[in-house]
Assembly symmetry: C2
């Protein structure tokens, strides 16, 4: 074992060297070094005290601010007590560093308590990105934050603004992730329910009065319990980077009395359009420009409302503080009410209106080599509620795919690929599934390297009558072109004719609307193994995801730091 240990150390050094050279060769930017301590702390983000996973004492964690082509080095020390972690860099494609995507079970083993893991990757494009836990349902315990990448010196964006702010929207539960996950995996099934509050940049307001909760647990009169406030100078234009990391909820974001001009989506410039409500789904990021041109003697509400679910959760509130009004002065008029929760057409309309900025169009290939149609259904497997794609519900193995594929450990997951589609003719998307039973599988899609792949997400009725939920799908390691959205059942011959091949936006997260479909195209040009999944925490836990492999044979030796679990030793 002495020799084994020596080899282990040597391996670490060698891998680090390889990574250093790899990064040096593609990067001209700075190296930005972060040291993070992750642990549990008692916090009251919405006045209710509970355990929160913090980074350096904060949730949301510190913002990573960098310039295009910088190398980000994050040294994560796990000080959770008996719990592992993994952190995903959401929207960062990890070109050349697929092992640092931070997806437990796909790209790495989790990081053990007491251990330090070093993530090192290049932020190769400007824009608004996120980071968050990607292990179990740990994200919703508070381990998340913003990544903001600016342009290289001398380059400028196709819009102007005076100030730049990042605001993460979230929903918040008072039960622990363990309680929630155990409920989801139990018979009888314990559904997580609607969130207790909505957070804006980590702050929310829960009413402690009904039913009365003891003051040491819930104190909504404490000065610490005040919504998020952002102070602005009248007359100036602000770039607000609005992103969502909700566990469950689709949101409408609104600023009382102000319009918002959408200029960026998931790191890509948008052909600008103006909205009063910004619909935003978990995993999405937008930049909006807001001119502070209203009556400057008062403050204004910023609000979030849940859409697409008939939720009981009160709206999220924050204060837009016009300087020099007092930041703790509540606005004199009530916050705007949100849109009608079950009117899906304005949401379709916003999705459709997001197109690439005319000066920044990346044209998609005109044809694709493979089309996978993914029917989204809710099912029962062994008496448990699950979500399925083409009647297959995904189950994550614990030896990361990246390791088992690279090392040809073919016995670690089924070599049968999931279906390319479903029984399209006969399936009635407006009814609860006739065949309630799905199968569980850890099979993955193997993509031929450098081919073009189309994905059509087809929504359907869940197991409850007259219910179809919005699912925000997030792709790791790539952006995709959003070719089109539709209402009802997708028809390849008919609908593919109307794909937007002229100026489609590129994104990494996109909703499939209730009873609708969404068509995407991407190039399998990033060697690695990549998760594609519903960004709703409980839905992915219940099987709503798939995995793509491409170009695994092109990868160099994997760093040993991602090993240590299952058969990856």
């Amino acid at each position: 074992m002495g020799m084994g240990m020596g080899m282990g150390m040597g391996r670490v050094l060698l891998s680090l060297l390889i990574i250093c050279f790899a990064i040096a060769s593609i990067s001209e930017g700075k190296i930005r070094h972060y040291k993070w301590e992750v642990k549990y702390e008692y916090k009251s983000p919405d006045c209710y005290k509970k355990l929160v996973i913090t980074i350096n004492g904060k949730s949301p964690g510190p913002t990573i601010s960098a310039q295009q082509n910088d190398t980000i080095v994050v040294e994560v020390k796990n000080n959770l007590i008996t719990e592992n972690l993994a952190i995903h860099w959401h929207g960062i494609r990890q070109i050349g560093t697929p092992w640092f995507d931070g997806t437990e079970g796909v790209t790495q083993c989790p990081v053990l308590p007491g251990d330090t893991f070093i993530y090192k990757f290049v932020v190769d494009r400007p824009g608004t990105y996120l980071y968050h836990a990607h292990y179990g349902m740990q994200r919703e315990a508070g381990l998340y934050g913003s990544i903001r990448v600016s342009l290289p010196d001398g380059q400028s964006e196709p819009f102007v603004y005076d100030y730049d702010r990042s605001i993460i929207l979230n929903d918040w539960y008072h039960k622990s992730t363990y309680e929630q996950a155990t409920g989801l995996a139990s018979i009888p099934f314990g559904w997580v329910g609607e969130p207790q509050s909505l957070l804006i940049q980590g702050k929310g307001l829960f009413s402690c009065a009904t039913p009365k909760i003891q003051a040491d647990l819930c104190n909504d009169t404490s000065p610490d319990c005040f919504p998020y406030v952002t102070t602005v100078i009248p007359g100036k234009t602000y770039r607000l980077r609005i992103s969502s990391l909700t566990a469950l909820s689709a949101l409408s974001f609104q600023i009382q009395g102000h319009n918002m001009t959408v200029v960026e989506a998931d790191g890509h410039y948008v052909d600008p359009f103006t909205v009063q409500n910004l619909f935003i789904y978990s995993g999405e990021t937008y930049s909006v420009l807001v001119k502070m041109d209203q009556n400057s003697t008062r403050n204004y509400w910023m609000t979030t409302h849940i859409v697409s679910r008939n939720a009981t959760t009160p709206p999220g509130l924050a204060v837009l503080n016009y300087y020099p009004n007092h930041p703790r002065r509540y606005p004199p008029t009530p916050p705007p009410s949100g849109p009608i929760w079950n009117d899906r057409y304005p949401r379709f309309a916003q999705s459709v209106s997001i197109k690439s900025h005319k000066d920044f169009i990346h044209k998609p290939p005109l044809i694709s080599n493979r089309t996978i149609i993914m029917l989204n259904t809710q099912n029962l497997v062994n008496g448990k509620f699950r979500w399925s794609i083409n009647n297959v519900s995904f189950n994550l193995p614990h030896t990361p795919y990246l390791v088992s594929l690279k090392h040809n450990l073919t016995h670690l997951f089924t070599q049968v690929q999931p279906p390319e589609g479903h029984n399209f003719q006969s399936y009635d998307i407006y009814k609860a599934p006739e065949n309630k039973n799905a199968t569980i599988s850890d099979g993955i899609y193997r993509l031929q390297f450098n081919t073009t792949v189309d994905i059509v997400l087809q929504n359907a009725n869940s197991m409850s009558n007259n219910t179809s939920e919005t699912h925000p799908w997030h792709l790791h390691g790539h952006d995709f072109w959003v070719l089109g959205y539709g209402d009802g059942k997708f028809d390849l011959n008919r609908d593919s004719k109307y794909y937007n091949l002229e100026n489609p936006i590129m994104k990494n997260t996109v909703p499939v609307h209730p009873y609708g479909w969404t068509a995407l195209r991407f190039q399998a040009d990033n060697p690695g193994v990549w998760l594609f999944h519903c960004h709703i925490e409980s839905h992915f836990f219940m099987g709503m995801g798939v995995v793509f492999e491409e170009g695994i044979d092109r990868l160099p030796k994997l760093p040993s730091s991602i090993m240590g679990c299952g058969e990856s030793r």
Copy 2:
């Protein structure tokens, strides 16, 4: 990396072979194979529903019943969601298998979710033992159970009985171990407080009425919410194997109207003595004989009461059901009240009366080679409450000592050994410590192989005035002779003259009473690394432990299955 993996697999096989041969050579018994699945489940052991860690759906887990010299193989599958585990086989000395002691940070890396760990060890002595989680504060989440080892065929015990029952006593908290541990590690300090209930063989009674808790969370009228019942046949004699795994509480156990004859303690035969109250501390096991000779037309209460702390917790209750009375018929008279909580002399008296059975005396060596005096104090370190030995508060590293010592990774913990004693003349054990500050260390005691070591545990006042707590100290890998107990300050010259060297009992867990001392002797004859610690879950978490190394150079290659964390890769 392909080669690395191949080596890894080879290493596993080789280690398994070595273990198999090692075990085959010392064992003549059967191999008993267990397959355990460990996961979170909602359970209501005391009527209050909370997350419990179960083994094969149960807490307490399955009883391991074996015969002396059998080999126990436990395949543990970790199905906790994001949390690791380690299981300690309490009282099993692990001679020849120190890597399977199950102590995270000392003998192994924790077992990751999705992974299966195989514990394999010989139960080389008859008696009553335990198993439980040994990672963070995971034990009190419900991961524990009994080990019962019978004599080889043809041998018999020095007492007779008709039936044999195992009963584990426990205390129970409604907060999660995460909430408790985070509180203990926080500023301001969050003390765990007194337990909500006392469990007898996994069942307790919490009153859901005051304050009223919603019925789906707490239902004390449910038929599932009934105390533990054990049915007995009038006139017969029962061996009750009573053990305690409380997180905090010292207990008095009593059976209404029945005396108990103590015949075994921690696997050793006791010179029999009879009690009405059995005082029992966390980590101890006793066998008592009870003759069912009372009025057979009724049932009787079995009760536990907290002693040594002024607790608010209601007594633990269980029903001794005299057949054929209905098992759910409560006894007609109220349960006996317990002893006075702060009268420490009856507890001293019981400790002193436990001596070795005359036919089974293992005489201790008459002199020892080294005496370590361990002053037990409560301190402050960086504003946090801690427990210290000789003003050093223990901090567990995450690379197991067994690995770092065997592989000479001397940089992984301080090579400075903890102190052998304290400023004995000047220290006033009846006052809160004058020097409140302790230091944190991960240093360990290195013992010369095959030497005899004396440990004197010296209790003192905690940081609250007029308070000295009972600490049950548990030694891994050995039994020790209990040479004596005393009240007040230990004096080596005076008190060592009165050591019992004639018929001392051997134990693995022993209390040090309030303001008292306890003297132990053991032989450093078991190559490995062994924890010695206060068995109170929160006290060990707060630093109340030490580690002994002996004969590390005599160990063969370590199994690779214990590696994977820190620098043990």
